[in-house]
Symmetry: C2
Subunit: 366 residues, 2 copies
């Protein structure tokens, strides 16, 4: 049997009103929370629920709501400054991947100083302030991973920083925060979750346990994927959130692959939402796996109970009209993507020519 490691120390609390009902578990994290969020979280009730829970615990809270999609180092530094001036000793993240990843970076850099030049140099010690995360999309799965993806302007891409301490202590999952999530966000984050489960199985670092989690995620998630463009019941929102969490547990073991690595350029240069970027490229990557007879593809199709054509069609419908990106830019992105370590982590080992082909098929010439 292949060797593997498994680590996912986050305590997951899932269920309707779990923040009000189990908010006492926050007490152990500290005396004063920096709540890292974006402005939309004030709309879905999560921020209110969290502030109330902290108040009931006798804990203080300072809100930092200036996180925008694809968090920057500058905003992370703002958050750290606010944390220190407020005297906060733990961090709460509320929102999608951006607040959650920014929170991880804040919680880490607050106790491990790095200059801007050093931030993406790796080698982080396993030290960070304690965190509690409340995802409000379904989702990035960031509430159960040790990765923070930040905008890397020097390299004109997005780059991950990581340490084992970046796993949140607590994750609260409640589908009600997604009840009024706009269709576009619902679809984009669903594509992100789908890509995590699929890429987890296509990673060189896939393990028996990460595969088992990925397959369970796909089994539950895929039937709902096509429904994400329409009205969803609260129960369906809960299920999508749970499955996206399983997909997060998957990549916490396996990491992501070329699709994620390739997607960052689309986000950085064209502002395409992260989940959508993955969705745009996933079909092409799967077709490449078919041509190369990658064994995991069969397991993926089986877990989805669908054919490759069926999966690509589902995604095409969700993606709709493609952005207008000139071929020359796609070729530049393909070249730059080859420097991303995620390329080498892919079981389908794409060459630059194959990476180019994936980009081009994602944006067919008009």
């Amino acid at each position: 049997m292949q060797s593997f490691a498994y680590y996912m120390p986050t305590r997951v609390i899932s269920g309707r009103n779990c923040v009000p009902e189990h908010g006492d578990q926050l007490k152990a994290l500290g005396t004063h929370a920096l709540i890292v969020t974006g402005k939309s979280s004030a709309l879905n009730g999560a921020l209110d629920d969290m502030i109330s829970a902290l108040e009931r615990n006798g804990q203080n809270a300072t809100v930092f709501d200036r996180i925008t999609p694809n968090p920057t180092v500058a905003s992370v530094r703002e958050g750290i400054a606010l944390l220190k001036s407020a005297g906060a000793d733990f961090v709460v993240a509320i929102g999608g991947g951006s607040p959650m990843d920014a929170a991880k970076a804040i919680a880490t850099l607050a106790v491990q100083e790095r200059t801007d030049e050093e931030i993406f140099a790796g080698g982080y010690a396993a030290e960070a302030l304690p965190m509690a995360h409340v995802p409000t999309t379904a989702g990035t799965g960031s509430e159960v991973t040790p990765y923070a993806i930040l905008t890397n302007d020097a390299k004109e891409t997005k780059t991950s920083i990581t340490s084992p301490a970046m796993f949140p202590r607590l994750a609260f999952l409640d589908g009600k925060y997604m009840e009024h999530l706009p269709v576009r966000s619902t679809v984009n984050t669903a594509l992100d979750a789908f890509s995590h489960a699929v890429e987890g199985m296509l990673s060189r670092n896939a393990t028996p346990l990460s595969d088992a989690l990925a397959k369970e995620s796909l089994r539950i998630f895929y039937p709902l994927l096509q429904k994400t463009a329409g009205p969803l019941t609260l129960d369906e929102r809960d299920t999508l959130l749970y499955a996206s969490m399983l997909a997060g547990m998957t990549i916490a073991q396996s990491g992501t692959t070329a699709v994620h690595g390739m997607g960052y350029a689309l986000t950085y240069f064209y502002g395409i939402d992260h989940g959508r970027a993955n969705g745009l490229l996933l079909g092409g990557a799967l077709r490449l796996c078919e041509r190369k007879s990658v064994p995991a593809l069969k397991e993926i199709l089986s877990a989805c109970s669908d054919t490759l054509d069926g999966i690509c069609e589902t995604m095409d419908t969700l993606l709709g009209a493609r952005e207008d990106i000139p071929r020359e830019h796609l070729l530049v992105f393909a070249h730059a993507a080859m420097a991303n370590k995620n390329i080498r982590k892919s079981a389908y080992e794409p060459t630059e020519e194959e990476v180019r082909a994936i980009y081009l098929s994602a944006f067919p010439a008009p």
Copy 2:
């Protein structure tokens, strides 16, 4: 979707020679290990591997090898006394469930004093010395649970103590330590692992995630179950160990049920191995589930790809001739079992009459 919590913080390191190759991970646990084990662990190489790894790390070790099956409070106290006199600051467990559970009790009671009367009174704080566990059977799954089952002489049974800190920090899984495990131990611990996966699905506290882990365990484990009475390859040993770990992750969420609760009397009064005791009772419990149309039964059969008759037959063959236990004793056990909280945790809600019937069918009158 049903509410649930999930927590399993142990870092699992699995693979051939993982103790020698990844023993550096022990450094973070402390300076001086109390190694808790039974005498057989010196035979399978695990103790040597561990001592060598600790030496390479510059860590000290004191061996406490006086743990016998079904650990007693007295032996736990001996272990604590040795830990304190040696100045040990973390605990390593090597062996089957008994050393692992004794280690958890030692690691906990060393920092949370309890009189003998209080030990089983519950309410443990989440504090314990750090631990690393090396299972040498496949297995109790104790390396990934927060439970320590000790002999409870006052109640003439075995009782669990627990806290979230009883999860080991590290678990090292290497099938080579089981290479020469005698057939009887192999079969008994396999029955234990099987009962964990099955009971986890039959627990009132089953969750979607514990069920997913249980089903994956059964899917992999069941085909090997019948082979445990014969020669096994190292790869099969690895697989059994992995699946028993998954079953441990399952019960860490769900707890066990009436089968475990009923089994303790067979162990306490007749010295029947814990895993065998569960195996003796499991068939009767599953038949009760069939009569009561318990929904989880269908999922269990599906995960095993077998019928109920098939499963019972497999277990009967492994169990062989039954112990000679007088009917009157079984009736006493049935009555006593009703006081065990595991009875009420079972989705199949057995009455005393049904518990009696399970005991009697396990030991048919000659």
